[in-house]
Symmetry: C2
Subunit: 270 residues, 2 copies
């Protein structure tokens, strides 16, 4: 069993209620799952999600709690396991219920809830919660946040995080790692992009493995620009709200556009 408790999220005033309720429900469900199931059962694959990837028990339990909130609030949901839950609302919450679920199931204390509010297809607000500590990052589109990126413009000397190397990204991973001053792999995109927004890292990169779905990047797409940074795809494909969960990207979250462009060039070798 994982013995550490999962705290209630520390949410700021003013978060859109269904989004705040979803975050609280995710934390409560994750805490309950840890108390009830040992690591191996948290990690057990119990289904295949709407995005085509295996669903761990911990993913399923946390998402079920979020679906209950969404049903009560009568807003729409786009999520990796449930897919699109249509309540005929103009509001859709795009949510990654449990980002870093491999961490979450093992007890590595690096997993997140991340959600964004889309109104008629336009992102207006985002909330990221580091479930293991309750820390939250909140941003409104187009409005300044308390967070600010580092402002770094160059790969040389930078301190970044990357998605772990995969068969289709190993060379690019090493190329980027050899250039930067410091590299980390936390295995939770949503926490890593939040750390870029607050200025604790210069960038986060998927070096070309095309792992990201829209719910992995939606919160960052609001939070980073509000903090002075950018989110883009390494191959320049537009990041957009889409109900098609087969679409994938290789996201970059960076302190500046210049840094993002240089990282993309290092990955893709144009």
């Amino acid at each position: 069993m994982i013995t550490w408790p999962v705290p209630a999220p520390s949410l700021p005033e003013g978060v859109y209620s269904p989004l705040a309720d979803a975050a609280r429900a995710a934390a409560a469900a994750y805490g309950a799952a840890r108390r009830r199931y040992p690591r191996q059962e948290l990690a057990e694959e119990v289904a295949t999600g709407a995005d085509g990837t295996p669903t761990m028990r911990v993913d399923a339990l946390v998402e079920a709690a979020i679906v209950d909130v969404i049903d009560a609030a009568q807003v729409n949901l786009l999520s990796e396991e449930a897919g699109f839950v249509d309540h005929g609302s103009a509001v859709t919450l795009v949510i990654d219920p449990m980002d870093g679920s491999a961490n979450a199931a093992m007890g590595v204390p690096l997993s997140c809830f991340a959600g964004a509010v889309f109104r008629d297809g336009v992102a207006t607000e985002a909330l990221t919660v580091w479930l293991d500590t309750g820390r939250a990052w909140w941003a409104l589109a187009g409005q300044p946040t308390p967070y600010q990126t580092t402002g770094r413009t160059t790969v040389d000397g930078s301190s970044i995080a990357m998605l772990r190397p995969k068969d289709n990204s190993r060379e690019a991973w090493l190329r980027v790692a050899s250039r930067v001053d410091r590299v980390r792999v936390l295995s939770t995109t949503c926490l890593e992009t939040a750390l870029v927004a607050e200025g604790s890292m210069d960038a986060f990169v998927d070096p070309g493995s095309d792992t990201h779905r829209i719910m992995d990047l939606a919160a960052a797409m609001v939070t980073l620009p509000s903090a002075g940074g950018v989110v883009m795809d390494v191959r320049g494909r537009p990041l957009e709200f889409d109900l098609d969960l087969s679409r994938r990207w290789s996201g970059i979250a960076a302190a500046t556009r210049q840094l993002a462009d240089e990282l993309a060039e290092t990955v893709v070798l144009t």
Copy 2:
């Protein structure tokens, strides 16, 4: 400025007082440093440590607080900046005041205090504190702990953490990363080895860069065996208490001896 507070450590009953006091002093000093200095000033190199590596301001501030505790308790200290502080005691605390100081200075919430108690050169007790959350791992040599490793015996299918790749370890890094199921780089050996002890990861490896000094591994050398795991050097060099801070190792902390041996073979290619 880094805006998150540093909590007081949650220490169990029974920790050797000077070690507990040192951990509390480290957390208090790190919290005060964050409130007073912005990131760039925390990272500023203010001296060269006794181990020959640059000392950041945050390292210096935290270690100074620990030296005060050691002076009051009249035990000896072996630490990376101060070197050996001899009070003529039979007890020496081997301490890494701020493991993951690059994280700590940037605000990446992954940094630790780690200390071990040596009595006449024999390790008897260890305490690791994740400074950003206050979580603590405590172990007495030769006595069971509440932690237990995963028990995994094979590299294939394992979930591990590694020291970041360096110029002298890049090929071995990739070789190991290609074999395991999941790899992470948290940039704090002491937290990574504690997570191995509690069963949240199967192993942690420095794939041959010879980065570790005795204070990076001392706490793990007590904690891992008490939790059913092992700590060793990838090249089989004995890990031992030594006042010579120029000695370096490439540490492996693993759930089992078999896993440690297979990781070492993967790194060294015997």
